[in-house]
């Protein structure tokens, strides 16, 4: 089964060549065997997923129609609400929180007959780039267990890379899908802001958060996007399909984009490791061979992206996380002296260091007297970055950049240096500020046999073209087919 993609497995299940129960059992066995080391999952739903698999098998046996993910074992990042299991956000403050409703995307996975085998680890409240900020457990990179899987969707990435599920959902606020996908050698897609409903995604930076798939290849990503995309009346920021029509993202995915114009940003190269630069250059060369025109473009406000991002994201987070106060649900301190202590002690005990840092940063940015200088200014920068992309996309169909300046770093290497950690997202953050889609796919390996990721960005709601462009590269290369050694052990 390790050789199958999600689509292939789905087709075999539908054809009766393999049952969902068999597939699910295999995945559960792999989790049992490897997750002690990888640590991708916060919770695994053994009994429930087998029951569900059996139901789907029954449907298939009875000749009933089944969904697009019929019987395929998938995982969900643990910041998406589910009525089954806890929804922890890898935080002590929500460690025992059981949501009374399913996130819109979870509902869609279930409606597509997916089998959700478990919920994956993340940096607490999705704040981080290594999953080391999880307050509940450590996840390691399946390619090298002394290294981080990236973050914040590190659990989902490691689960997919370690074949502990066939595909997974992550969330991306500043690169949290693309960066761990890059570190783990898989494909991760951040859709356009508004393409996928955020209802039920525990908010970090509401104007930046977007749910997307992590999978073994481009087509599986397209399949997952087919399942989760669409307008949701419960999310006012999800886009009206009249303005941005949905499409079948698998349709024509094998068809190369004609007259393709690819943008490259010379100023980006300098920031990345030499081996990454080489891998990206080779990828660009390949596109050239495939007939693409390569055009140098300028994103003049790129250097302000990280600063603007950390103002906007933390400001929104400081407000979004105000509700975790020990009053209504979640962790409450024992024996408080008054209600102020219910707040202060519950939060002090419940939140980890990075979350506190960001709450404080965001609170400061929104304070009267500082608002104009920080938050408002960041919004202005954000508009400039948006305009940069609009201008760039007048000249090109897509932009190719590295996903990260380095490959996966060692566990503990950057935990005491938040600024270094923040730089891990330098290439991915702008897409969130601009709201545009981006995909990360494997384009090489470094001397340590660690995956190197390539990022392709496209204009808003151009996911179909973006996936086709990515597929052009993938179909000519084998990087995505390599597997970490741990799987075979």
């Amino acid at each position: 089964m390790h050789e199958l993609t999600a689509i292939q497995l789905r087709d075999k299940i539908k054809a009766g060549e393999i049952t969902s129960t068999q597939a699910t059992k295999k995945v559960l066995q792999a989790i049992e065997k490897h997750d002690k080391i990888i640590g991708a999952y916060i919770s695994v739903f053994e009994k429930q997923s087998l029951e569900r698999a059996a139901e789907i098998d029954k449907k298939i046996a009875a000749g009933e129609s089944v969904g697009q993910l019929a019987g395929v074992p998938v995982a969900v990042k643990d910041n998406m609400c589910t009525t089954f299991g806890a929804t922890t956000c890898a935080s002590k403050i929500l460690e025992n929180f059981h949501a009374p409703y399913n996130a819109a995307v979870v509902q869609k996975l279930l409606a597509a007959d997916a089998v959700i085998v478990g919920k994956t680890n993340l940096d607490e409240f999705a704040m981080g780039s290594s999953t080391e900020n999880s307050s509940l457990k450590q996840t390691v990179n399946p390619w090298d267990t002394t290294r981080v899987p990236g973050g914040s969707s590190g659990g989902s990435s490691a689960a997919v890379a370690g074949r502990l599920c066939m595909a997974a959902l992550g969330s991306d606020t500043g690169g949290s899908i693309r960066q761990p996908a890059g570190f783990c050698g898989i494909v991760g897609l951040k859709p356009t802001y508004g393409r996928v409903s955020r209802f039920g995604l525990v908010a970090f930076g509401s104007s930046l958060d977007q749910i997307g798939p992590l999978a073994l290849n481009v087509e599986d990503c397209a399949l997952m996007l087919n399942v989760i995309a669409g307008h949701d009346p419960n999310d006012s920021t999800s886009v009206d399909e009249k303005n941005a029509p949905l499409c079948d993202y698998l349709e024509n995915i094998d068809k190369p984009v004609e007259n393709l114009k690819i943008g490259i940003v010379p100023q980006f190269a300098a920031g990345a490791d030499k081996q990454i630069q080489n891998a990206i250059n080779n990828a660009v060369e390949l596109y050239k061979k495939l007939g693409a025109q390569i055009i140098e473009i300028d994103l003049p406000h790129f250097e302000y992206a990280i600063a603007a991002y950390y103002m906007v994201a933390t400001a929104e987070a400081s407000s979004n996380l105000a509700r975790y106060d020990g009053v209504h649900y979640g962790h409450r301190t024992e024996n408080p002296n008054d209600y102020i202590e219910v707040y202060s002690k519950s939060r002090e005990e419940g939140f980890g260091k990075e979350v506190k840092r960001r709450i404080m940063l965001g609170t400061y940015a929104l304070s009267s007297g500082y608002y104009d200088a920080y938050y408002l200014k960041a919004l202005k920068v954000r508009n400039l970055i948006r305009t940069d992309f609009t201008n760039a996309f007048e000249k090109v169909d897509s932009i190719i950049t590295p996903v990260t300046p380095t490959t996966a770093f060692k566990i503990g290497e950057k935990v005491d240096d938040p600024l270094q950690m923040y730089l891990a997202d330098m290439y991915t953050i702008s897409a969130n500020l601009a709201g545009i889609p981006g995909i990360s796919l494997p384009c090489g390996f470094d001397d340590n046999n660690l995956p190197i990721g390539m990022q392709i960005l496209a204009p808003a709601f151009e996911e179909q073209k973006l996936l086709r462009i990515a597929k052009m590269f993938e179909s000519k290369t084998d990087y995505h087919k390599k597997k970490p050694a741990i799987i075979e052990s």
Partner: protein, 495 residues
């Protein structure tokens, strides 16, 4: 003795609860006194991952109210988060509107005792969600009821244009009438649908110099009486304090006070206006609202004649007293019923239409009493405006007297019969037959020689005595004698 004059300056912040079916940002029902925490969902509980969705109806209700208050409606408005920690606020921020409210710069005309009206400027009106309620009922802990959390609230802020408790009350009453007329709020004070926060201070002129006392804001008043009393109390308190200490208004010395209803006094809550930092910022979960002409026109088409305009028109057009006009216009349904009765075309040959004054009397003296007893509106009592017009005409023509009319009206709530039939059936038709009445008059005159003598002798007692004799005749006829005709007969016989 020094020369001292003072003037009270009052501005108001008013919260009006809108009567939409559901809450501001979720689908929960708005119901008063439902069992605690039974009208809640993940959204209004502020659960992780939830998102608000604007209730369009609530927005339209607010725009309608603002239009009635002559406000300018913004073509672009947005939602902001107002952050503060309190147990009744599940998200620890309130969705409100900060720097771009949906409406600004209006005014409201309020009726004064003198019969004139005064224009009070409206600074702004914005929409926000209400918090829940903390209940301090048991032991050393508190409970939170979130049924009210997320209720749509219209906040109206006036300029400090009022100068007495009477004016403030007039504004409150007028606003209550307006929102009820528009059907945007039940404005039931007992249910907390309207809450007032007056800002009060004095301008004192002493020995030719003007002084301003520090502003006091009185929080959360939810009755007209408390509103009036708190202003009267504050005025006196501030005057005393000024004479005592000479304290005047300065940056940051605005205080917040509460109303102690038991002792009928305001109580200091916060001495200095704390530098409260609500860290407002635009709510990223909600889209800004853009108002286009078509939408605005559609909302405008729901406007109606406002109560004060109606009241003035009733006095001018129908020659009603100010008091009667006020009573008739208190509720839109009453006014509409009245107007339907006045303009009713009535088919019978001897009845040509309703006399406004008589219709008014029937409605105000009997109709509203019945409606109150049955806890419903006039039109829900079961009789038609046409039949009330017929009844009024019957009174006008002397066919029945006023008290019989009330009896007939009550009967009209129980049957579909027209008032003439009821009058006949109940034997309430006035006796106007001169011959029949003369016999009764003769009998009464014979029985009361003293009164007859008083009338004949003229002077002071004559009028009273004639009234007495008239009463006796009516009584003897069991209320059915037409007083006009009896009077004529009496005058003839005693002259």
């Amino acid at each position: 003795m020094s020369d001292l004059k003072y003037k009270i300056i009052i501005g108001l912040e008013i919260h009006v609860q809108l009567c939409t079916k559901t809450k501001m940002f979720c689908g929960c029902a708005l119901e008063f006194a439902a069992e605690p925490n039974s009208r809640v969902c993940p959204v209004c509980l502020g659960m992780p991952g939830v998102l608000p969705v604007m209730n369009k109806k609530a927005f339209e209700y607010s725009v309608l109210a603002a239009l009635a208050l002559n406000c300018e409606i913004a073509s672009f408005t947005k939602w902001d988060r107002k952050s503060y920690y309190y147990p009744d606020l599940p998200k620890n921020y309130q969705i409100s509107q900060y720097d771009l409210p949906f409406s600004e710069k209006g005014f409201i005309e309020i009726p004064l005792e003198s019969g004139e009206s005064k224009r009070i400027r409206i600074t702004r009106a914005h929409l926000e969600e209400d918090a829940g309620k903390n209940l301090h009922t048991a032991g050393n802990f508190s409970q939170v009821d979130l049924n009210r959390a997320g209720t749509p609230l219209l906040e109206i802020v006036t300029e400090p244009d009022m100068n007495s408790a009477d004016e403030v009350k007039a504004l409150a009453v007028e606003l209550q009438r307006i929102v009820r007329y528009l059907g945007v709020s039940e404005a039931d004070m007992q249910k907390g649908h309207m809450r007032f926060e007056p800002n009060i201070n004095l301008i004192i002129t002493k020995d030719g110099t003007e002084y301003k006392t520090p502003i006091a804001e009185v929080k959360n008043l939810n009755s007209f009486r408390a509103l009036e009393r708190s202003i009267e109390y504050e005025a006196q308190r501030q005057l005393d304090e000024f004479l005592d200490t000479g304290k005047v208004m300065q940056m940051g010395n605005k205080s917040t006070r509460g109303w102690d209803d038991a002792n009928q006094m305001t109580v200091l809550q916060r001495e200095k206006e704390e530098a409260h930092d609500y860290r407002y910022f635009p709510d990223p979960d909600l889209l800004p609202v853009e108002m286009n002409d078509a939408w605005l026109d559609e909302i405008k088409s729901r406007l109606c004649e406002l109560p004060l305009q109606k009241q003035i028109r009733y006095v001018t057009d129908y020659k009603l007293s100010d008091y009667d006009a006020h009573v008739l216009t208190a509720e839109r349904s009453t006014a509409e019923f009245f107007e339907q009765a006045v303009s009713a075309t009535i088919e019978q040959a001897f009845i040509f239409g309703g006399d406004p004054k008589k219709i008014c009397n029937i409605i105000t003296q009997a109709g509203l009493k019945l409606a109150h007893e049955q806890n419903c509106t006039l039109s829900e009592l079961g009789f038609t405006p046409e039949n009330v017009a017929r009844l009024a005409r019957m009174v006008e023509d002397g066919y029945v007297n006023a008290s019989a009319a009330n009896t007939i009206l009550e009967e009209m709530t129980k049957t579909d019969k027209d008032p003439q039939t009821i009058a006949k059936d109940m034997n309430l038709i006035q006796k106007s037959d001169a011959g029949e009445l003369e016999a009764i008059v003769d009998q009464v005159l014979a029985d009361n020689p003293k009164a007859v003598e008083d009338v004949k002798s003229g002077g002071k007692k004559a009028k009273k005595a004639q009234g007495f004799l008239l009463g006796q005749v009516i009584q003897k006829s069991k209320g059915q004698a037409n007083p006009k005709i009896v009077s004529q007969i009496l005058t003839k016989k005693l002259s």
